[in-house]
């Protein structure tokens, strides 16, 4: 019995005893990395994350200094992504824009995920009128076009990074509430919950100690997808000039700035566009791969 359990993984040699790391999480992680899509996604995101974290080191030109030898230089060794109309290095501007977009969407989605999930778990466990009220609110929020919510919040709170973060977090919350509530509804009537109730555990302990670990994995898919839409919102806001204010670079802003020079400088819109596309591709692949890792019997979806 233990031998078959250990050989299921296939990666580690069969030692005849159960692996120590046989937890659901370790198992999911292993399946994720063994899937080519998952490996590509994790690898790609690692490269992007390193580039973002190391932005000040790997971009050897200042992103806002107007110090290149000429305007709109095509890509060269010194300026791998060329220069813009103000003689600024575009490689540096792209990398710094990437850093902001990534950090901003990651942190705010995480905040929104925690708030939304806690709400969803709670109302899914408690049910009753609180559940009804929260779910109607969520339905109403989901009916609003997300980008317009972001526009409105930025107009309300004023431009600035923290306000973009708030907009993304608010946009992410309803999805997490809905999903975590559904998870909770699926778990709350299982035997182990009943056992905990019979033993006299209080609701808070039951939810956050017993149910959460079982209900959490599908939410990871949602985290990847929500970060992807966060990146899209940051980029769109940047495109509309509502994001990082001029001279500070943003990926969406770079695409917009390139408009007058499309025919003279292909590198100006193409690099930020490609970076955004690659980042979003990796996040979508990751979501798919997590999905498959969680339910190995599910058919491959793409």
């Amino acid at each position: 019995m233990s031998a078959t359990a250990a050989s299921q993984g296939g990666l580690t040699p069969d030692t005849g005893r159960p692996r120590l790391a046989d937890s659901m999480w370790a198992d999911t992680m292993r399946r994720l990395l063994r899937n080519p899509q998952g490996a590509i996604a994790v690898g790609g995101l690692l490269i992007i994350a390193v580039a973002a974290v190391a932005a000040p080191v790997i971009a050897w030109h200042d992103p806002i200094a107007q110090d290149a030898s000429a305007r709109l230089l095509s890509p060269s060794w010194d300026h791998p992504f060329g220069t813009d109309e103000l003689r600024r290095d575009l490689f540096s501007r792209n990398v710094h824009g990437l850093k902001t977009a990534l950090a901003l969407s990651f942190l705010s989605v995480l905040t929104g995920a925690v708030l939304g999930t806690m709400t969803g778990f709670t109302v899914g466990y408690v049910r009753g009128w609180a559940d009804a009220v929260v779910m109607r609110l969520v339905d109403a929020l989901l009916a609003f076009p997300g980008l317009l919510i972001a526009f409105a919040i930025l107009t309300i709170l004023g431009q600035g990074l923290e306000n973009i973060g708030i907009a993304i977090a608010v946009f992410a919350i309803p999805g997490f509430v809905r999903l975590s509530r559904a998870q909770m509804l699926g778990e709350r009537n299982k035997d182990y919950v009943l056992a905990a109730q019979v033993l006299g555990a209080r609701p808070v302990r039951i939810i956050f100690r017993h149910i959460v670990l079982n209900a959490l994995p599908p939410l990871l898919t949602q985290v990847a997808l929500a970060i992807a839409s966060g990146v899209l919102i940051v980029a769109a806001l940047g495109y509309f000039g509502l994001g990082e204010q001029a001279p500070t670079p943003s990926l969406g802003g770079l695409v917009n700035d390139s408009r007058p020079y499309l025919q003279r400088a292909w590198w100006y819109p193409v690099f930020p566009g490609a970076i955004l596309a690659f980042l979003l591709l990796c996040l979508n692949l990751l979501a798919d791969a997590i999905n498959e890792a969680i339910s190995p019997y599910a058919r491959r979806t793409s």
Binding site: A140, A143, L148, T155, S302
Partner: protein, 314 residues
């Protein structure tokens, strides 16, 4: 069926109500003063007072809300704070271009996405399936404004096959109208078609693996009959829900695409109105968008109820 429909309609009423409250509140929370925007920096206190009085801004929020909603349900949309134009006139000018773009892009996304999804799903791991995977990966990832700019660069600026901006009414000159619509429609439809294709593929592969499909094959039906009569019928029903949800993506995408291609329309109106604190215009546009989205999803639910009797019992 009737109780099911009544139940679903009843569920949407609180959503619409909360939608109007949210649309109303979103702008009130802005620290700016619309009277100041209208009168300019040099306005005296009396001027500002008079303007606020005229706009009804001295009343409490509940009073303003009730008056606005009352007028709205009676079909009186009121007048824009900043331009003085009647909102219904603003709509009659700006809804047709947005409708053209939205409907064309939605139809295009469905026409591309669903057949691709079917072809990939019926024969997993075939050439069609690989084409589908490649297409969805690229199309889901590229933001629509990036696609828009790249299309503008290649097909409008370099090749000069399509005009780069503006709009021609479909009713006055259909050919020229479509010529102007082509690039914005592609940019808007691409990510939506990818989502549809991916979802269609998933439902089809699920159904094709089921027992009744094997039974159909086993009793000697031709492959095309098995797919069209048995598999497609069952697998396309869940796609209705996703199609309705994608209407939300169209409504958001329109705002971006109208800006990229400098087309007139509701998206431009709402972006400008937010910046000018034009409460009435913004809240009314928001309500219109929410009503469209909620209605489409309600219809999708009801159609689903007709197509699959199981969901009626719940």
């Amino acid at each position: 069926m009737a109780p099911f429909i009544v139940n679903r309609v009843a569920q949407t009423i609180p959503i619409l109500f909360l939608g109007t409250v949210a649309a109303f509140l979103v702008l009130r929370l802005i620290p700016g003063d619309p009277a100041l925007v209208i009168a300019g920096e040099e306005a005296t206190a009396e001027d500002l007072y008079a303007i606020r009085d005229q706009l009804g801004l001295h009343d409490s929020w509940p009073e303003q809300y009730v008056r606005w909603l009352g007028d709205l349900v009676q079909g009186d949309l009121g007048y824009s704070f900043t331009t003085g134009l009647s909102v219904s006139r603003l709509f009659s000018i700006n809804i047709p271009p947005t409708l053209e773009l939205g409907i064309a892009a939605y139809a295009f996304a469905i026409a591309i996405g669903i057949p691709l999804g079917i072809l990939g799903g019926v024969k997993p791991r075939s050439a069609w399936d690989w084409l589908l995977s490649g297409y969805t990966m690229v199309a889901v990832g590229v933001p629509s404004f990036v696609t828009g700019i790249i299309l503008l660069w290649i097909f409008a600026a370099e090749l000069r096959w399509f005009p780069s901006l503006g709009r021609v009414s479909f009713l006055s000159d259909p050919v020229d109208s479509l010529h102007h619509l082509a690039l914005p429609v592609i940019a808007l439809a691409l990510p939506i078609s990818a989502v549809l294709a991916r979802y269609t593929r998933t439902t089809i592969t699920d159904v094709v693996g089921q027992d009744f499909v094997r039974t159909a094959r086993a009793k000697g039906l031709g492959e095309s009959t098995v797919i069209v009569r048995h598999a497609l019928r069952n697998s396309l029903i869940p796609v209705i829900t996703i199609m309705a949800l994608q209407v939300g993506e169209v409504l958001t995408g329109v705002v971006i695409i109208e800006a990229v291609f400098t087309r007139p329309g509701l998206g431009r109106v709402v972006v400008e109105a937010i910046q000018r604190l034009d409460y009435l215009v913004v809240q009314t546009v928001l309500v219109v968008l929410v009503v469209i989205f909620v209605t489409v999803n309600l219809l999708a639910d009801i159609i689903y109820g007709f197509a699959d009797p199981r969901v009626r019992v719940r």
